[in-house]
Each structure stands twice: as structure tokens, then as C-alpha cells.
Symmetry: C2
Subunit: 339 residues, 2 copies
Amino acid sequence: MTLKDIAEKADVSMMTVSNVINGKHKRVSAKTIEKVNNIIAEYGYVPNLSARSLTNKNSNIIGIIIFTYGNNDTDYLDENPYLHIMLQTIEVELRKNNYFTMIHSIVDKQDIIEFSKNWNVDGIIFLYPLPDDTLKALVAENICPIAVFDSRTNLPEVITVCSDDFKGLYLSTKYLINHGHSHIAFVSDYKENPLLTLRFNGYRHALEESGIPLRQEYIFPYASTYKEGIAAGKQIASLNTKITAAVTTADVSAIGLMEGARLGGYRIPAQLSVTGYDDLSLCQYTSPKLTSVSQNIRQKALCATDLLIEKIQTGTVAQSPHAVLDVEIVERQSVLSLI
Amino acid sequence: MTLKDIAEKADVSMMTVSNVINGKHKRVSAKTIEKVNNIIAEYGYVPNLSARSLTNKNSNIIGIIIFTYGNNDTDYLDENPYLHIMLQTIEVELRKNNYFTMIHSIVDKQDIIEFSKNWNVDGIIFLYPLPDDTLKALVAENICPIAVFDSRTNLPEVITVCSDDFKGLYLSTKYLINHGHSHIAFVSDYKENPLLTLRFNGYRHALEESGIPLRQEYIFPYASTYKEGIAAGKQIASLNTKITAAVTTADVSAIGLMEGARLGGYRIPAQLSVTGYDDLSLCQYTSPKLTSVSQNIRQKALCATDLLIEKIQTGTVAQSPHAVLDVEIVERQSVLSLI
DNA sequence: CTGAAAGCGCTTACAG
DNA sequence: CTGAAAGCGCTTACAG
């Protein structure tokens, strides 16, 4: 069943059917519209979007780049704890705006370009930050509007949506200070990572603001994983310092930290208060339940999607293309008040 | 840059370029192949797959139906704890086989049909079971090969991939029995749900096999959520029965159960042993760490994808279209041995 | 081994 | 308000 078939059944031209389908009602009489619509419904006609893409030079397809893969096939698994929320939120929002969602993994920049040309993709969303020069190269190719999460690039052509990472760690550090802590460890391998560096700066700022010295020996450069968290916890427990609290840059890291400190003989939070980052649902499943910094992931996903759609449809975005969303601290049980 | 442009630059016909691109090397001389490939590389030509779809009547697009949505926009969030692993695994496998992956949510059967016609989708994967009559109706429409997870339909036209749910609860129940438990609660609202009913049957079978009577009062029909788990745990703690252990059909339910029992004054696992189901990564983050039944999700995802590809390419599948994958119990700390 | 032509199912000027 | 024709970028018989 094609447009042509419908046209024949309705005894009108293909163009008329096309106009009815595309809502160009100015160009067709009400009577014809009804007749055509009835026949479309009767035969269950659905337009072929490949054909439409071919003529229109756009596809209504948005590509979502879900990860970059290296050599190991399973490297990627479990990496992005937000993947399902992001994907679901983005897909629903795109669908509301008549876009279709393709997911795609890549190995390098070239993959992205090929992919976008293959389907005349209308826009691309990267679920994770890319190096600035990769983004720049992509912009130079001028393939389609691009949105990226958690990138700090200032390229005006790319839409970025971040959360306020500086504030995130400022809040968790401040929260500990407000509860009487002043010997606060920072557990994260932040150097080389712009996002984590921002969080570190938030930590530092909170200390400074309260006149608490920043001590190098309170900085524990462990990666943000459960396993590394355990190692950090063990180390802190074995060190016999004055540390009474630790901030982290990931919930799994914080959970590992609690576990490691416990293995080192500490009671949590009695001897060590801990804060997480991400506010994953598992924060409520640990004991003590984990106090954490929450990014509103749904809001981030919607923001990126809406900006991208705006850019696709109008060629530009009214506000800044670089959105920074607020964060907040979610209080649970992993911090002991010393006052 | 189109096929035609390449043909002109190479001074051959479009057909020759097409044959080179599609690897039909029998029909082109080695010299021509090289010449054409060089020009393709030089200009970074990438074929337009919409055009190809249009001629070929197939698209190399596989649709993945990620969820069905109701009235509430955010109902779906957090529903499928495996979504990210499934999606990533499937996408990589499809990509290896030259397919592209579209994700799509639906509100009803009609959506699926429209979607598949829109893009001439080559196959569809449902990430969650659909009612048998919906599947039957879909098969009747004869749109494309279909694969479904966790459906027990016996329609030979649809590929199903399940894990051995009967065995799953048989294993966890048996595990408790082997550790000296005989008063074992079953916590799950299994009725009306075919998958959970299979798990219940596994529980029942393990009891029977060991000559332990099945007691109605040991069955707690709570939904498989954290919140309901808490309620169940509180109830069990308040009941003062001989129950020393409980099996569940979800990790979050088990975690809630431990929490609820604790709130009711129980120590876990000293007074109540608990097993989960799914072996989510959060099992290792709770205390005690949760013993759980593991389905190999990656394997399930690969199995469904490979069967679907086989069916698309050969029109049928060599083995049974209904795969049931093995499960195993992952031992941690939530079960106390009474012997 | 290579080419010219038709056709896939749409939309868009251009006419009337 | 409606139609006939061209064209989007491919592939596939059909010829040579």
C-alpha cells in the first residue's frame, strides 16, 4: 500500500494525498481531506519514511551515541549508571516531536561521520563528553546539530548540558562542615579529568570559605569505582589521621569506601562520615543509607533533547547553547553530626 | 557526494560502483575495484541508506521496543534494571552484522505495526514479554521476524529467549534447604504473572523434593519492589512464626525484605536468611551482601539477537526458536547456615 | 567485465 | 483547489 495506491482509490492525485498526510490543509478541500483520510484508515496506510528521507534530505532520525568501544567487547558494560533513564527520557521526548531514535556505538570520529551520512541524521546526542578537538572536528564537518552531556567545551555550535559539578562537591563538603567536620578527605582521581577537577574545586572552595586548610595528605586519588573505593577506605582506616569524613565523586566509590573502612575496623558513620555523588537508587539500599549529590538526570536529558530539537528546527537556540543544571544534596544516614 | 558522482570521477557506470561497494567482485575487474575504492576513500563517500532501503525493500534497521507507556510520563523509569546491558549488547552484536538499531517505545500494538512499516524494519526485539494474543496478532500482520524476552508463547513464528525461571527458584530454595532451613517463606505476588508462577513452581518443587510441606501461610504475596519488600519484612518479623528464611523473585524485593525485617527487630541473616533474584550489581553493596540467582543477561541478549539475525537472513532458525537459558546461584552473605 | 534504463515511494516546484 | 512531471540516491534485471 503506497501513496500512489491511496491516490488511485481516492481518485485524486498523489500530490493531494501527500498534502493531506502532511497537514497542508490549505491546499485541499475539506471534502477531499475526509475522503483521503478515510481511505488511509481503511487500508492502514503508513508512509514509507525512507522514501520521504530521500526526497527531503532529512530523516527525522536522531542518533544517540551511547559509548565508544575499545578492544574489549565488554568494556562498556555498567559504565553509565544513567543510561536507561537518559535513553528512555530522550526517546519519549523525541517521539513527541516526531523524531526517531537510533542508538549507535562508535570506535572513532570517522564512525560518527559515516553514521550521520548513512542516514542523513538530523541531529546527534552524545551521552558522554568527547575531547574538545573531536567536537571541533565534528563541527567542521558540518554534519548536523550536536548535543553533548557533561562537556565543558565553549564551541558555540555544540549544545552542551552539564550539571553544576563545582556546586555538587561544594554542597557535600559544606554539608560535612555544617555537621561539625573539618578533617575531610577528598577521594577521587580528579586530575586529568575536567569534570572531576571542577568537583575538586568545589571541595576546595568550601574548605576555604570556612577557613579550613586544604591538606595534600587528605587527598586520595583513587578511581571512582567500588573496588578502588574499598582500597581508599582501607587506606584511610589504616592511616590513623584526624580524618572524620570523606567526600567522593561517585556513589559506588562512596559505597566501596564505607566497605573498605569497615574492613579496616571503622564503624560507619561513627568514625567516618561519607558522601556520594549521583544519588543512584542504590543509595537507599546500603547501610547506612548514603547521603549523596543528586543531578536531575531526567531534566538533563530533556534539556539536551529540547535544545537539540530547537536547533534542528530553527537553526539556532534562543538561550545559551551551554546549559548548566542545578544539583542538590539528598540527606540520608551516612554522615554523623559532630555538633 | 553520491554514487553517481563517484561513477563520473571513476569514469565507470553507477552499476559498477554499486557492485564494488556491495562486494560483488565477480562482476568487476580488480583494476576497476581499486580505482573505484580509491575515489570513494578520497571523497569520503558514504552510501545513502534511505535510498538503499527504498530499492531493497529492507532497511537493515532493527527496532528494539524498550517499553510500553501508559498515562504517566515517568511510569517507565527504573523499570528494567537490565536495560543498559541489553541495549549495549544488542547494539554491538547488530552492528557487527551490519544492522542499525532504532529504539522505540509504544502505547499499543498499532504503534508497532506503524513503526515497522515506516522504516521497513527488518526485525523487532521486545525487551519484555507481551501478551500472547498481541504476539499472535503481530505474527498475523506478517511484518517482520520478531524476538521477545521472557515470553512463554509457543508460537513457532516468534523467537523467545527466557531464562530458566523454574530452576531459578528451585535453586535458591534448595540452597536454603541445604543450609538447614525448612521454614522458608516465598515472597512474591506471583499469581497472574506466568514468569513468577514458574518461579513459584520451582520453590514448590524444591520443597516437595525434600519432603517439606508447602504452607499457605508462608506465602507472602507482595509485589517485587523495595517498598513492598519492606512491608513483607515487617510482616514476617511481626508474625512470630518458625520462618527462618525467605526466597524472593527480585533483588530489590529481597533488599527491602531485609530492611523491613530489621526494622521489625530482626537481625539478618541471624534470624532471617534471604535470597534475591537477578544478581544485580547492587547485591554486593548491601550488608549482608545478597545471595542471588543470576541470569546471564549478556548471553540472553546475544542469543536473541543471533536468532533474530538468522531468521532475517535465512527465513528460519535451525534450532528451536524458543531458547531457555540456564541460571545459577551466586553465593554471598545473606544466608545463615543452620547446620 | 561493463552499461543504459527502469523503478523503489515519496515531495516539490511549476502549471492550470 | 488539483495534476503531471521531475528528482532524491540507490539496485536490479536485461543487454551486450
